[in-house]
């Protein structure tokens, strides 16, 4: 898409024309100053901010007890000044390749000021929020990694939402009957089956990839809702699986904050984190990864050197389904233990946004998924503190964040070159 609508007539207008990157840099300057002003007006000048806030940094039962008590107003002023300084630096110097890191840091500062203001006069379990952030980001991470696996071989998978939902459903039913591990296996199997269906529809029958994905979503939503009311409604024993228990890792779990976040989790947390490392290594350091990426970037060239494009796509999209199934099982077997109609509520799409924000790289997806997880955790935890912000607006946060991400505030990411296009062998 063109970036400007100006006529290319005079040289002056040519100079005024900004590249997307310059435009982004300018927007960022505005963002920093706006955030700074916001913090100053709403958090620092608010009368409640004079009362001390306490962040608890350890949970009950932890080896070390930590907490941090401070005056929110002081923190808000420090944050506002820092943000203004960042804005000035962005305007006159720029941060080059550190731009996104600085942006992330600025967001962190803003959130700190916000949480301090929200917790003024109260104690607030920061570590509880951070650990629920990690837990909530697991399905998003799995969704994002599924999308990554598919798009690296140039298949756009919009059907992740449906895969997650079906896996959550099957995981619950099988888990109720045959135990948690069987439930997990069943969930992964249905994820893979739907992945294979998507692959057949888009590779063999060359249906538009977006339509094929949407079909899978509608189908999964319809079928799971149908079965939930027809079977689960009358047979509640199928909707009460055991859940995976928390496995704490010795020693590591005692690290303050980090231990509670990453080393007191269940099989889904550890599994998805390991998967990030495995996929990173696989994609960038193995023959499989090189071939997959070749198929995604330039299928014709890949075909010419003897890589079977169709086979690679079938295999990766189906394998990706296993990841989606894993993530879907996390929604039931790893958390609530109950299936509810349309319980994914957009997690698959948020996963896709995490994939885009993470620039089609496993560690990028992890980082983005944590940010989205944070937005969801905030909605849950701030309800308890009773801030004047209506809970509906906090609930919107992850979705607004997704839009900001895909609209390119974090910079234009380049998808695999052949993404979304069918390959037709001559």
């Amino acid at each position: 898409m063109t970036m400007t609508a100006e006529p290319a007539g005079s040289t002056e207008s040519l100079q005024l024309r900004l590249t997307p990157e310059q435009r982004r840099q300018r927007i960022l300057v505005g963002v920093y100053f706006a955030l700074s002003a916001f913090v100053l007006v709403f958090f620092a000048l608010d009368a409640d901010s004079a009362e001390d806030a306490t962040f608890n940094l350890s949970m009950t039962g932890d080896r070390f007890t930590l907490s941090w008590t401070f005056e929110p107003r002081l923190i808000a002023i420090i944050v506002a000044v820092s943000l203004a300084v960042l804005g000035v630096l962005q305007l006159f110097v720029g941060f080059g390749k550190w731009t996104n890191v600085v942006l992330g840091g600025a967001m962190g500062l803003f959130v700190l000021a916000f949480l301090g203001w929200a917790a003024a006069g109260n104690a607030f379990s920061l570590v509880g929020m951070l650990s629920s952030m990690v837990l909530l980001s697991v399905p998003i991470l799995c969704g994002g990694l599924t999308g990554l696996m598919c798009e690296r071989v140039a298949v756009v998978n919009i059907g992740i939402e449906g895969q997650l939902l079906s896996a959550a459903f099957v995981g619950t039913i099988v888990g109720s009957s045959f135990g948690t591990w069987a439930g997990l296996a069943g969930a992964m199997a249905i994820g893979a089956v739907l992945g294979a269906v998507l692959a057949v529809l888009v590779i063999k029958y060359q249906i538009d990839q977006i339509i094929a994905g949407v079909v899978i979503n509608i189908f999964a939503l319809g079928l799971t809702s149908f079965l939930a009311s027809r079977v689960l409604g009358t047979n509640p024993q199928f909707n009460s699986p055991d859940r995976f228990t928390t496995i704490s890792i010795p020693l590591l779990e005692d690290i303050p904050v980090i231990g509670a976040m990453f080393f007191q989790g269940n099989v889904f947390l550890y599994g998805s984190l390991i998967l990030v490392f495995v996929l990173h290594y696989g994609l960038f350091y193995t023959r499989w990864g090189l071939r997959s990426r070749a198929v995604g970037e330039h299928p014709k060239a890949a075909d010419t050197v003897g890589i079977d494009v169709y086979k690679t796509r079938y295999r990766n999209v189906t394998l990706a389904g296993l990841i989606a199934g894993f993530g879907g099982a996390a929604l039931t077997l790893g958390s609530t233990g109950r299936f509810e109609e349309n319980m994914t509520a957009g997690v698959g799409f948020i996963g896709l946004a995490a994939m885009i924000a993470g620039r089609w790289r496993p560690f990028g997806v992890l980082g983005a998924a944590l940010v989205f997880g944070f937005a969801r955790a905030m909605q849950q935890k701030l309800g308890i503190l009773g801030t004047p912000i209506p809970s509906e607006f906090l609930a919107m946060a992850p979705y607004i964040l997704t839009i900001i991400v895909v609209a390119g505030l974090v910079g234009r990411a380049r998808p695999p070159a052949a993404d979304g296009q069918p390959y037709i062998k001559d």
């Binding site: 529809l201 809702s225 079977v231 509520a345 799409f349």
Partner: protein
């Protein structure tokens, strides 16, 4: 070809209707015919013969119903247990359940005047939402945001409907316009983001759905909207003057909303095929590069297409408020219409009159589905499954061909989307 458009819309090729020539036509008819028939082929993959154009949707619907029957059969837990002890009885039970379900489906859809009224009643918002998606498809945009646009459009109509105390002749059009503006605005956010930043409309519209849902939830609890004396998200009822009049008297639920939907289809047909802006819309859809080189303002066109699309979805939202009891806003009034609309647009091959027929078919499925739920206790969600199957079979005719071993060469919908970075 005649004006009797088949459900697949193949008969609604641009040269078939001479009725709407009164609109602004940028080029002489002959030239436009050539251009449009090329575009038409480009968009729909038509070049296919009439027989297959009628046959494939019919087979798609039949196949989907057969699979739906299979799903009913295998989810009947009591009968499933019977297979072990008395297979004969189980078989006849299964057949009678499936037969009874589909009989209820048919009776509920067409069995009486009331059933037909119910079918048209259910078809009304479906047609409007389906037109919204169809307009997007023709311009190469995939508007999955129907849900959100319906919510925002409906909330706008709602506000006008209970705020102003005016005679129906003024108030109803005011509500409808408000709904179109609300829905159009909401969709054009996604259009703007797509045009300016390249953010894919599939993701942004879905995110806007969730945002609209929470926004409506919040609004319904504010003093402006909330019904006095309630603490749950439910709004004041609209004034009686804003209620859409019944078409066949108060005994039957179908309202003039159905006529509005038909009028909208005619208007969309005129806009897309008889106006210069419609030509630009379709050109952007068929080939954005060509449109740009041809001097069209792609940014503005993208926003405009989404606005038109959202306005139609907004009308569907208005119908959900003004066209059915209790004439007030609740949190779930979009009722999944935005997603059904995608199936409709595909089934109608993105042609306005194709969408009308597809809407009546889906209206029949919905009305019949309710009957089925009432009589045979089959959850109405099955209709969604059948609809998803219909889309698959419509989008992949090769699949249907391989099931029924029919020879043919059509390639289906072809590619509508163009990846993330377009």
């Amino acid at each position: 070809m005649t004006d009797q458009d088949p459900p697949d819309g193949a008969g609604s090729a641009p040269h078939s209707d001479n009725a709407t020539t009164g609109d602004t036509t940028p080029t002489p008819p002959e030239q436009q015919d050539v251009r449009e028939s090329q575009l038409y082929r480009e968009i729909t993959g038509v070049g296919e013969r009439m027989r297959s154009a009628l046959l494939m949707p019919a087979l798609a619907v039949i196949t989907a119903l057969l699979i739906g029957g299979f799903i009913i059969a295998i989810t009947d837990v009591t009968t499933l247990r019977l297979w072990g002890t008395d297979p004969g009885q189980a078989f006849s039970d299964t057949i009678s359940t499936v037969w009874g379900s589909y009989k209820a489906l048919f009776v509920g859809a067409f069995g009486s005047i009331n059933a037909i009224s119910e079918t048209l009643f259910a078809a009304t918002p479906l047609i409007l939402a389906g037109l919204a998606v169809a307009v997007g498809f023709q311009a190469g945009l995939f508007n999955i945001g129907g849900e959100g646009q319906i919510m925002i459009g409906g909330m706008s109509a709602l506000w006008v409907g209970f705020t102003f105390d005016l005679p129906a002749i003024i108030l109803i059009p005011m509500c409808l316009i408000a709904a179109m503006m609300g829905g159009g605005f909401w969709a054009s956010i996604a259009g703007f983001l797509k045009a300016k930043t390249g953010a894919h409309e599939v993701i942004t519209t879905i995110m806007l759905n969730f945002i609209a849902l929470f926004l409506a939830q919040w609004l319904l609890k504010t003093a402006v909207f909330q019904q006095t004396g309630r603490s749950d998200p439910i709004s004041k009822p609209i004034n009686e003057a804003a209620q859409l009049p019944f078409l066949f008297g108060a005994d039957y639920r179908v309202t003039i909303g159905f006529l509005i939907a038909i009028a909208a289809a005619v208007a969309v047909q005129g806009l897309m095929y008889r106006s210069s802006i419609g030509f630009e819309f379709r050109t952007v859809g068929a080939n954005p590069d060509a449109a740009r080189y041809g001097g069209m303002n792609v940014v503005w066109l993208t926003v405009a297409v989404m606005a038109v699309s959202g306005a139609l979805a907004g009308l569907a939202g208005a119908n959900q408020i003004m066209g059915l009891n209790p004439y007030q806003g609740t949190t779930g009034f979009s009722a999944g219409l935005g997603f059904d609309a995608i199936a409709l647009a595909l089934l109608g091959r993105s042609k306005p009159f194709g969408v009308v027929w597809a809407g009546i078919l889906f209206g029949a499925l919905t009305a019949g589905g309710r009957e089925m739920q009432g009589v045979e206790r089959i959850p109405v969600d099955l209709v969604e499954v059948i609809q998803a199957l219909i889309i698959v079979f419509i989008a992949a005719p090769a699949l249907v061909r391989s099931i029924y071993r029919i020879k043919g060469d059509d390639t289906g919908m072809g590619q509508i989307s163009k990846g993330w970075a377009s």
